[in-house]
């Protein structure tokens, strides 16, 4: 006899809406792809390390392959040279997928208002959650992950997100 839900429910059938079941599963098993380029990437390492422990939110399976991830965390400055790389990674991720823009540079170019820095990643890919700070504290990243969980919980699997998005690199 198990100790979990099966102990009470046994071999029975539960009825619920598909959206509810799928969203519940999705929101507690985010697989982040950390696109860490700079300082924020180092702070993301802290989020994953022992003290802040991203695994409390079911998001500890950090993948560096876009094909295995459903949450893109852009942590760091994106330059014009990097932008096509970022876009390609976003394109390679399978649906459903979300994007967190971590830190001032990724959100708006930060204080790098100059010839080389992309003034916000939303010029290239859609963004679902912005985190302020330069770099943000690890708690802020956890907060953003919780917000994405909430968002993913309220979505429908039949609706496609971001279909109207058009960035500067989209033909």
């Amino acid at each position: 006899m198990g100790l979990g839900a099966e102990a009470n429910l046994g071999d029975s059938i539960i009825t619920t809406k598909l959206d509810e079941a799928v969203n519940w599963a999705r929101s507690y098993s985010m697989w982040p792809m950390a696109f860490g380029t700079a300082c924020c990437g180092i702070e993301f390492m802290s989020v994953a390390a022992a003290k802040y422990d991203i695994s409390r939110f079911g998001a500890e399976v950090v993948r560096f392959s876009p094909r295995q991830a459903d949450l893109l965390i852009v942590a760091g400055t994106i330059t014009y040279k990097q932008a096509p790389v970022l876009k390609r990674i976003w394109d390679q991720m399978c649906e459903p997928k979300w994007v967190i823009s971590m830190g001032a540079c990724a959100c708006s170019g930060g204080f790098y208002d100059n010839y080389t820095t992309l003034q916000g990643i939303d010029e290239v890919i859609p963004v679902h959650e912005y985190i302020s700070g330069c770099p943000p504290r690890p708690e802020a990243v956890l907060d953003a992950i919780m917000n994405i969980q909430k968002k993913s919980y309220n979505e429908s699997i039949i609706k496609e997100r971001d279909q109207n998005f058009k960035g500067i690199l989209d033909a």
Binding site: S46, A49, Q82, P135
Partner: protein
């Protein structure tokens, strides 16, 4: 007036530097850059000048050489056959200023993308004019000649596998792209491409006043931001000719060494994750987080501290700092021991790291590698000993040297340097002097808030310093400190106003990364990953 040490004719560049290298022992090329005098208040013989900074083989003396470039040709001789480091140094100068180096084997852009038009550090290039890059470079223009030089025929090349490692790859530690030609598991040739995190540090410096640049220096090497703050502030203070107070010096030593420890922790932890051992990461990241707690209590930020000010420091130590620091140092010592207990006698660790990624001492110097990477190769070069500042000569600590220059040496040198830093911090805490934190100079340090709100002189002083910045005497100067990765230099040109005319950062990583492709050729791909991690490349630093 601050000047370069030598002013030479452009056609004598090659002969002069050859003589300096062969006869006067200037074996280390630190940096190459250029200055665009288009908007400089003084009349100059021509618009552009190139600058070379060299250091002698006993590392005590450094020399800067300047030469005006002919406006019509914009061409000078390349010195790539004298120093390996000149390869990337000249490419960067070409990329940013458009000065061509005659005889350079591969003069192409290094920081900006290949579709970029113009040269951004020229004074007539508008700072906000970004240029969209639509596709990445295939790099075959570099790879094919390289393979040909190595004796591969067209038919041989068919059998090689071309592989990209990076720019977004978990093993590339930041945004570095290595394009390798594989012969089975062995790297036949490697081309490194950078610039994916080029954030225009030097151009941004030209539009901000001296104090506003300090936050930018944080983001050069974000693993040890305070060491960068110190390096930059010290260069500006030297130009101003001011000596900071004994208390400020000692606090800079303490916090700087603490930053060195956190930097080495990140490098070693990440390195051992690449070797497949995650336990080390948990062990040594825990005290690092405690060190960050101290830094956030002291400076208000974890990573990007902006702790120094020109002429002193932002805050004095808080009450209870000494106890917090002592606890962290103890934790770090414990973590080093724990971590070493896992690897010290571990056969797999030894096999994976010993005789892997070997850097030969002569090559390291020719390539301009400094810091722990050079020391691991057996060269005892540490600016804290060779050209001491802030009273480092009074501390009892050792320069840590390796014997082989392999990955094992680099990891162990970093572990031992952490111990030496702990030793320095403990001595410094014992001798921490009382007294003022900042210099008493109204043109440099902001006045007390009491004066700002209480009298017109204070108000005017605050206004002038905030809006116009600190007036640095006209001239040019190269200031240097021992950063976590090696010699961190700032070549600053001042036109006498509150905004620098030009700031060139000499990042230690830039030159060690320039040498990387040569180091890993002939190694296995898996070893190249470990070699990369052990050399501690920080993207913010080499790309700026």
């Amino acid at each position: 007036m601050l000047k370069t040490d030598m002013l030479i004719n452009a056609k004598d560049i090659k002969s002069t530097i050859t003589r300096l290298k062969n006869e006067e022992d200037y074996t280390l090329l630190l940096d190459i850059t250029a200055i665009d005098f288009l908007k400089y208040p003084d009349v100059t013989p021509s618009r552009f000048a190139v600058i070379y900074v060299l250091r002698t083989s006993n590392f005590k003396k450094q020399i800067s050489i300047k030469s005006y470039v002919d406006d019509n040709t914009l061409e000078v001789d390349s010195i790539t056959d004298l120093y390996y480091a000149a390869d990337w140094g000249e490419r960067e100068t070409y990329d940013q200023y458009g000065i061509r180096f005659k005889g350079h084997p591969n003069l192409k852009r290094v920081l900006n993308h290949h579709q970029f038009v113009g040269h951004p550090l020229r004074k007539d290039y508008e700072i906000t004019k970004g240029q969209i890059c639509t596709e990445t470079e295939d790099l075959m223009d570099e790879m094919l000649p390289l393979l040909k030089r190595k004796g591969y025929s067209e038919a041989d090349m068919e059998d090689l596998m071309m592989l990209n490692v990076g720019p977004s790859h978990p093993a590339s530690h930041g945004t570095i792209r290595n394009f390798v030609a594989m012969e089975g598991e062995t790297i036949a040739a490697c081309v490194t491409e950078i610039g994916y995190l080029h954030r225009g540090f030097e151009k941004s410096c030209e539009t901000h006043n001296y104090s506003q640049i300090i936050p930018y220096t944080d983001r050069l090497n974000y693993c040890s931001a305070i060491l960068n703050n110190i390096g930059y502030s010290k260069a500006v203070e030297d130009m101003l000719g001011i000596d900071i107070t004994p208390r400020a010096k000692m606090i800079r030593v303490i916090i700087g060494e603490l930053s060195r420890i956190t930097d080495h922790i990140v490098c070693n932890a990440a390195n051992m994750v690449d070797l497949g051992g995650l336990t080390n990461f948990w062990y040594i990241f825990a005290p690092r987080d405690k060190a960050y707690d101290i830094l956030s209590k002291l400076t208000g930020a974890r990573l990007t501290n902006t702790y120094t000010r020109i002429g002193g420091l932002e805050f004095d130590l808080y009450d209870g700092f000494a106890e917090d620091l002592a606890a962290v140092l103890k934790d770090v010592e414990k973590a080093i021991e724990d971590s070493l207990s896992l690897i010290e006698h571990n056969r797999i660790f030894h096999d994976r790291t010993q005789d892997v990624g070997v850097i030969d001492a002569d090559f390291a110097i020719s390539a301009g590698i400094t810091g722990p990477n050079l020391r691991a190769a057996g060269v005892a070069f540490d600016l804290r000993k060779n050209a001491p500042y802030y009273g480092y000569e009074n501390f009892d600590f050792d320069v840590v040297v390796g014997s082989h220059g392999d990955v094992y040496d680099r990891i162990m040198v970093k572990f031992e340097e952490m111990r030496q830093s702990i030793k320095i911090i403990r001595q410094a805490m014992k001798e921490l002097p009382d007294g003022p934190l900042n210099v008493d100079h109204q043109g440099i340090i902001l006045p007390n808030k009491k004066d700002v709100y209480g009298n017109i002189e204070g108000l005017m002083n605050q206004f002038k310093l905030t809006f116009e910045g600190i007036k640095v005497p006209k001239g040019e100067y190269y200031g240097y400190t021992e950063g976590a990765n090696g010699e961190l230099g700032f070549y600053i040109v001042s036109d006498g106003s509150g905004t620098p005319y030009k700031v060139k950062c000499r990042p230690p990583c830039f030159y060690s990364l320039g040498a990387y492709s040569k180091i890993v050729e002939g190694d296995m791909l898996a070893d190249a990953v470990v070699t990369m991690a052990s050399m501690n490349f920080i993207a913010g630093e080499f790309d700026r």
